[in-house]
């Protein structure tokens, strides 16, 4: 009960107990295992890992269980855990050209070297509820694709479709990755204007819904320039994470992670120094976060407006607006903190409001008295309020 704002220790303990029982739900049904969530709610796990900035499917699944399925609460749990972890070293940049793809498409070309590969996509499903899934009594088997089907060749580089255009100068370069100077938003405060590495980190951690809406707004005309965006390439697959331990001096692989990468191109009209060409936007997420990766790429492109000397006229181009309001843990904390007790401030506002109302009553009474006594126009003029005191 909220009136127990004071003496709340017992109330908090009771609330936690109540929460635990609600989380468990009706005990006639078996309890969810973390492995079940990890295997069968994988896209939720992927989102929690991406926005929690921690690649650990088991912990993300545990967080989802603990949060009763609330993604933002789960992301928060994972971030609060991550913040206590020591930082051993930076990996060398992921080589996403050496990716074991499960999905790879380009919307810009009908076919491409390496081929189009749909992978496990919802894209061409009909969104009809499949009532057969409601029946879990009979064991069904769903065969996975074989290794030959996936045509995985471990050390072979998969060409990037945009590189073909870059060779003709039709698309701008992707920039020179310099691992030693990459910023870290989890270790340094965000300062504006932010460089692109910082911006992309922030966008990857950002709330999926917010970034989706921001990307969408650029498609509906809330941007300065640039033609229609094209999905140059979208790829999902496993990449090796490599580090160079000081005592070895050469890279070793410490494991694989699944990522989704998206590159968007749109026509850039050029400037005095730059010829017209396709400009790039880039996005990457953990797991299969394709919707978000595309959105990040759109917003990244919109936020490059200063660098490309475009006018800033739309919300998605406004770095401060986008970056400062994109983090759902920051946002949810500040929005929801309104439910904390504020009675000291409220008392102050009551005091002010009472004074404002009393001033208003007095001036109203004065005004009415004046109107009544205003028998001649001359008197009205003489009695008019002087100044604002």
């Amino acid at each position: 009960m909220y009136v127990a704002v004071k003496g709340g220790e017992k109330a908090i303990a009771n609330a936690h107990q109540y929460l635990a029982s609600e989380r468990r739900g009706n005990t006639d049904f078996p309890e969810l295992s973390v492995a079940q969530i990890r295997e069968q709610m994988r896209l939720a796990v992927d989102r929690v890992m991406t926005e929690g900035s921690l690649y650990d499917p088991d912990l993300a699944a545990l967080a989802l269980k603990q949060s009763r399925g609330d993604s933002i609460e789960a992301i928060f749990l994972l971030r609060a855990y991550r913040t206590t972890l020591p930082r051993f070293c930076n990996s060398i940049p992921l080589n996403t050209s050496k990716i074991a793809v499960t999905r790879r498409i380009s919307a810009a070309f009908k076919d491409m070297p390496g081929g189009q590969m749909l992978g496990p996509t919802f894209d061409y499903t009909h969104r009809l509820l499949d009532f057969s899934l409601a029946d879990t009594t009979e064991t069904k088997t769903y065969p996975a694709p074989s290794a030959e089907d996936l045509q995985r060749a471990p050390d072979e580089e998969l060409p990037r479709i945009l590189d073909f255009l870059q060779n003709d100068g039709l698309v701008e370069g992707a920039g020179e990755p310099n691992a030693s100077s990459v910023g870290d938003i989890t270790r340094e405060p965000l300062e504006l204007p932010a460089s692109r590495d910082i911006r992309l980190q922030k966008l990857t951690r950002a709330d999926e819904g917010f970034i989706l809406a921001m990307g969408y707004s650029t498609q509906r005309g809330f941007k300065n320039s640039g033609g229609h965006p094209f999905a140059g390439e979208i790829r999902t697959g496993d990449v090796a994470v490599e580090i160079i331990p000081e005592e070895l001096g050469f890279p070793i692989c410490i494991g694989n992670i699944t990522v989704t990468e998206s590159e968007i191109v749109s026509i850039y009209d050029g400037s005095e120094d730059t010829p017209p060409q396709f400009s790039r936007g880039y996005g990457i997420t953990f797991g299969s976060g394709e919707r978000k990766a595309i959105s990040i790429a759109l917003v990244d492109r919109a936020l490059r407006c200063k660098e490309l000397k475009e006018d800033i006229i739309a919300p998605a181009q406004d770095e401060e607006f986008v970056l400062m309001h994109s983090d759902n843990i920051e946002a949810t904390g500040f929005v929801e903190h309104l439910k904390l007790p504020h009675h000291v401030d409220f008392q102050s506002e009551l005091d002010i409001l009472r004074r404002l109302r009393s001033n208003w009553e007095q001036s109203k009474a004065r005004r009415e008295a004046m109107e009544q006594s205003a028998s001649t126009p001359d008197e009205v003029a003489n009695n008019a309020p002087k100044g604002f005191a």
Binding site: M1, V3, A4, V5, K6, G7, G8, E9, A11, I12, F76, R79, A80, R82, T83, T84, P86, T186, R187, E188, P189, L190, E191, L192, P193, E320, M324, I329, E330, T332, G333, F334, V335, E336, H337, L340, P341, H342, H343, V344, D345, Q347, S348, E349, L350, D351, I352, R355, L356, N359, F388, A389
Partner: protein
């Protein structure tokens, strides 16, 4: 890393066995993070009222619950410290209880409700009524550290304004208040100028508390976790609440006195007692009120519950 509870005499609220969570460092944050926060804090003390950016971490409480203050407390707390946590002036509001229990679990330090006994006081929205001494550090939780934010939403702009000491908009805002209402219509988070230089947000304390900041012997540090800023007022620093010569700064006053302890000089909470809208006023600072009751002071409603002179009981009656 694990820690054991240090041997302290058993004060109220002291954990009697090791409650420290396995796998977490003393006071939750790792030592590198604490060092980073301490460096930012030292810079803040060196430039009174200036907002120092720091790499705020995710904490196990949400942003808006006091993560800035919690990080400051976690970075400066030592095993010998005695911690007091208040919210809205009271030690027993839910959030104060939760933060105090967090530090009990992660540090094992002694906690107290007694302002005089505490060495470290984390607060939200109030400054204790009792005068602070040089042995106190007061840690404020800050939601919006930028006093110019309501006039200029952009951080890139407000930082320039501070750098150039370009505070015209603030004075215009206060002037417009007087022009419209005849007085400055800001009752909490009332802007102050520190050591004749930076304009600073005192956090959402009622302006009633502003005079306590001026020339205060205690170190006052402010943490805004979500906004990634730390700022400070060193001991014995001039803190001026903005005003005009012909409209000097004033604080709230009440026609009522505290119904429990009869104090006529503390900040009062208004409590609605029943469906008829009857109300009473009690001290917002629960420790101050308790001490006065123990010293034999009485108010209009204290006699009928003289057997349990606790602020809590009134709130229960309110339920």
């Amino acid at each position: 890393m694990t820690h054991t509870t240090i041997g302290q005499d058993s004060r109220q609220g002291q954990p009697d066995e090791a409650l420290l969570e396995h796998g977490y460092n003393f006071a939750f944050l790792d030592e590198q993070t604490k060092r980073m926060v301490r460096r930012a804090t030292l810079k803040a003390i060196a430039i009174p009222g200036y907002q120092v950016p720091f790499a705020s971490r995710e904490m196990p409480m949400p942003y808006g619950w006091g993560t800035g203050g919690i990080q400051l407390t976690a970075s400066i707390i030592g095993q010998q410290d005695i911690l007091k946590v208040t919210d809205q002036g009271a030690d027993d509001t839910t959030n104060a209880v939760s933060i105090r229990s967090f530090f009990q679990r992660t540090t094992g330090v002694s906690t107290t409700e007694n302002t005089q006994e505490a060495t470290l006081i984390q607060t939200r929205h109030r400054i204790p009524e009792e005068t602070l001494s040089k042995d106190h550090i007061l840690v404020y939780q800050v939601p919006i550290p930028e006093p110019l934010r309501w006039m200029e939403p952009r951080e890139t702009e407000t930082r320039k304004m501070h750098a150039h000491e370009e505070y015209g908009v603030m004075h215009v805002k206060l002037y417009e208040d007087i022009a419209h209402h005849g007085h400055i219509a800001t009752s909490f988070d009332y802007p102050v100028q520190i050591a004749d230089r930076y304009i600073m947000s005192p956090s959402p304390i009622p302006k009633f508390d502003n005079p306590k900041m001026d020339n205060c012997p205690a170190l006052q540090v402010f943490g805004a976790g979500r906004e990634q800023r730390i700022y400070a007022i060193p001991p014995y620093t001039k803190v001026h609440s903005l005003d005009f010569e012909d409209h000097p700064f004033t604080v709230q006053s009440w026609e009522e006195v505290c119904s429990l302890c009869g104090s006529d000089e503390s900040y009062l909470d208004e409590i609605i007692l029943d469906n008829e809208g009857n109300r009473m006023f009690v001290c917002s600072d629960s420790d101050y009120c308790r001490k006065r009751l123990e010293a034999g002071h009485t108010g209009a409603m204290s006699e009928q519950q003289s057997d349990t002179p606790e602020v809590n009981s009134v709130e229960v009656a309110n339920a």
